[in-house]
């Protein structure tokens, strides 16, 4: 039995918490139950023999949610029901959301708990996890085993309507020759740090990566790694320290999520001992909104992206954390009625900043979609031109000393 509030022993791939309370919230489900869980108890039961056994997580009645979900536990070679205090787990770790890869030390034994709702069933061992920072730079060889160059980036297409997101192509940089953009299906094998192609690479030569990318395709190193992201479930800005992928049974690479903790940074710096002691923290891919120029644009254009599944409160959190132009684009992508709801639950300063940045007609449409009293208020407010034009100074809400959570949002 895990004592309440026991300290996490998070490994490099492990999220810092077992806040399973949010489990089940896929993309767009918004904040999980953790925020309002208070001192609720999460009970993990049903662990049986064998790695990857399914167990059930039940959130105590105190949350009023009664959530039940499946998780994977590893190793699970003996019966280990786990009991976690939601409040303590939340306060000491990543808060309101869960991620896929979680580990706790129970009676001296490391446990890895995988949330089955977001993690492919294939990930049951650390060996199944691949990190982008380790994949890039590896040698790429042709069918004749001659070295072609090195792998510098991977692409994923965000266009798929459902199912997991897979790596589509890899960018290979060659000395003194044009880059290659090779479909992953042309890879014969990937082992021992060497990627071997099954096909002649000449067919994959590109002139420029910008022209070669599909409209819904992004580069993981360029557009995701080390970039700032909004963790939608965790309601925070973060920076991607590594991208987590996994092998699938059919030999493809599947995108799982992003490590955002400092532990991953330390690991990439080669400070492995310090990294092992640092708090690990990761976010599921479905809970991320990218802020890189291309990442933001592609996600906004992709119906499946998390941004399109958020309710008004989730959108309010998102726009409060994005820069003004990105926030404006998010609001402009919504129907006026939805945008009006977002404005209603947003902090007035944030809402004013975004509305003022929008074209007059778009802002007028949103205001027109509000209830009459709100609309009148906003027309009056926007008619004035205050010296600071609705700008909140310091996005981190440092000034003044008060919180700016959306009205009614869980914190």
């Amino acid at each position: 039995m895990l004592p309440d509030g026991e300290r996490n022993d998070a490994g490099p791939f492990a999220a810092a918490c077992t806040t399973i309370v949010g489990a089940g919230a896929g993309a767009g489900a918004g904040a999980g139950a953790g925020a309002g869980a208070g001192a609720a108890t999460v009970t993990v039961t049903g662990a049986g023999a064998g790695a990857g056994v399914a167990v059930t997580v039940t959130v105590g009645a105190a949350t009023g949610i009664g959530l039940s979900d499946a998780v994977w536990v590893e190793p699970a070679d003996e019966e280990h029901p786990a009991r976690v205090n939601a409040a303590s787990a939340t306060s000491q770790s990543c808060g309101r959301y869960r991620f896929s890869l979680m580990r706790r030390r129970i009676r001296g034994r490391p446990w890895r708990i995988l949330d089955a709702t977001t993690v492919p069933a294939g990930i049951r061992h650390a060996a199944d996890v691949l990190l982008l920072s380790r994949i890039t730079g590896q040698d790429v060889r042709g069918p004749d085993e001659q070295s072609l160059g090195r792998l510098v980036d991977l692409t994923v297409s965000l266009a798929e309507q459902n199912g997991p997101t897979h790596v589509d192509r890899m960018l290979v940089r060659r000395d003194g020759a044009r880059d290659l953009l090779v479909p992953w299906t042309a890879v014969r094998s990937y082992r021992h740090g060497i990627v071997t192609l099954a096909e002649n690479p000449d067919a994959f030569i590109i002139r420029s990566i910008a022209d070669a990318l599909q409209p819904d395709e992004i580069l993981l190193t360029r557009d995701v790694l080390d970039t700032q992201v909004v963790d939608i479930a965790g309601q925070r800005l973060a920076r991607v320290a590594d991208v987590v992928l996994t092998h699938t049974t059919d030999g493809r690479l599947e995108l799982v999520g992003a490590e955002v903790g400092f532990g991953a940074v330390l690991r990439r710096l080669g400070l492995t001992r310090l990294a092992a002691r640092a708090r690990a923290d990761a976010v599921a891919w479905t809970d991320l909104h990218l802020t890189s120029e291309r990442g933001h644009a592609v996600q906004l254009a992709t119906p499946r992206s998390a941004v399109h599944h958020l309710d008004a409160r989730g959108l309010a959190v998102l726009i409060s954390r994005l820069d003004t132009e990105s926030a404006t684009e998010v609001l402009a992508a919504k129907a006026p009625a939805v945008a009006a709801d977002v404005v209603r639950v947003s902090h007035p300063v944030t809402a004013e900043r975004v509305l003022r940045a929008m074209p007059d007609t778009a802002a007028a449409d949103i205001v027109a979609a509000m209830p009459a009293d709100h609309a009148a208020h906003w027309r009056t407010r926007l008619a004035h031109s205050p010296a600071l034009r609705g700008r909140r100074l310091l996005r981190s809400h440092v000034w003044p000393r008060r919180r700016h959570n959306p009205r009614g949002a869980n914190t």
Partner: protein, 409 residues
């Protein structure tokens, strides 16, 4: 529904980053450098200040543009563009340099108050407490206005310059006709002038501040005015400090070690008023920079680590920010209070570190500014790259020349 265009209100909304970042470069270390420049070399190296001001306009403008376009601070962008290793190296150097520079600010507070007979064991802890409370607890609108108000103490240097009755003709000649003896001391003061005017922490601060102010690309034209105003005021204040010292100390063949010396030395030469104004300016400049440096450092650390700098969160949720801010403030104030601590050595080492750090930082900025993936249509073009490259090359030349002459010496 909205008013747009170049209105006073719009300008007021934008003003701040450039003005504060520029003026805070006139910190005690800067004032000391300018004082030594004037006392030892008279008017003839004023052209260095002019070139430094132009470099300041260019790179502060680039930093502000990068912040506005990408929505990220400088250290975060360096990590994104160049990876965790280079980003980490730049951050580590920046933190060390910033702690050293904060020491210089508190040393400035101590020296300024000691002119009025107040011991540093009172003034420094009090200043540390005041700037911490100001920054950690105040409303930003009020803090910004207060800092801008504090900046008006720099006018003291302008008054001080006029009271010293300088030779305006010689000053104009020194400003526009470059001459320079190629000896170690001269190269050192020229490098120090460039390094103190275009400080690494100022670059990271202006970018973080432009991000935090939520400026938009349509504000860039107004932000340019802000940057130019701040940089020109920085140069003008530096000019008057040099002129005041050149007209008095240099004329009488007196040399000084720091800005407080200059204030004291001015007394018999230019009168009580000039000396007092100089000391008041020193204290105000020190307080302004001491307010901004720990904040800038904390933001840089948080940008690199990848956590939000959320001071309104409890300590448990914003440890990185609190610890960074607190450590820089306490460490710097503590060092100044250590009896017989070699402050001059620390300050000189900090200046050198700042100058050395400036090189990779400027190159990184040019690289990021040119990156169309990050900057889109606001990416720096070929002509811009040439201008920025020439400026960076001049800084590199100064640092290399200083290194070589130091080795030879």
């Amino acid at each position: 529904m909205r008013r747009t265009g170049l209105t006073i209100g719009a300008l007021l909304a934008v003003v701040g980053p450039g003005l504060l970042a520029g003026l805070s470069d006139d910190d005690p270390a800067g004032i000391t450098t300018y004082s030594v420049l004037g006392a030892d070399h008279g008017y003839r190296l004023l052209w260095v200040l002019l070139l430094s001001t132009i470099a300041l306009v260019l790179f502060h403008g680039l930093a502000a543009r990068m912040g506005v376009v990408t929505g990220q601070g400088l250290i975060g962008l360096v990590r994104q563009r160049y990876g965790v290793r280079l980003g980490g190296a730049v951050l580590a150097t920046l933190v060390v340099a910033n702690v050293g520079t904060t020491c210089a600010e508190f040393a400035g507070v101590a020296a300024g108050f000691e002119i009025f007979g107040i011991t540093r064991y009172v003034s420094v802890p009090a200043a540390a407490a005041v700037v911490s409370l100001l920054v950690l607890r105040g409303s930003f609108h009020r803090v910004e206005h207060l800092l801008l108000l504090l900046s008006t103490v720099f006018l003291a240097y302008v008054a001080s310059g006029f009271l010293a009755h300088p030779d305006w003709g010689a000053a104009a000649e020194g400003l526009f006709v470059p001459t320079m003896p190629l000896d170690t001391d001269t190269i050192a003061i020229v490098t120090a002038t460039v390094g103190t005017t275009l400080a690494p922490w100022g670059l990271s601060f202006i970018q973080s501040y432009a991000v935090d102010k939520k400026l938009r690309t349509e504000d860039l034209a107004l932000e340019r005015i802000d940057v130019v105003t701040g940089a020109v005021l920085t140069g003008v204040i530096g000019f008057f400090v040099v002129v005041a010292c050149a007209a008095t100390l240099h004329r009488d063949g007196r040399s000084i070690a720091d800005a407080a010396d200059a204030a004291v030395a001015l007394q018999p030469l230019a009168g009580d008023a000039a000396s007092t104004l100089f000391a008041v300016g020193l204290i105000g400049a020190a307080l302004l920079a001491a307010s901004l440096l720990p904040l800038s450092t904390a933001y840089s650390v948080c940008e690199y680590v990848g956590v939000e700098a959320a001071l309104d969160d409890p300590y448990d949720e914003a440890k990185t920010f609190y610890l960074s801010f607190g450590l820089v403030t306490v460490l710097a104030a503590g060092v100044v209070l250590i009896p017989n601590v070699p402050l001059v050595t620390i300050l000189v080492a900090t200046q050198v570190l700042n100058a050395v750090l400036l090189i990779p930082l400027l190159l990184a900025m040019i690289g990021i500014g040119r990156d169309e993936d990050l900057m889109g249509r606001f990416a720096v073009g070929r002509s811009g790259t040439a201008v920025y490259g020439l400026t960076a090359a001049t800084v590199v030349l100064c640092v290399v020349a200083l290194g070589l002459t130091s080795l030879v010496a």
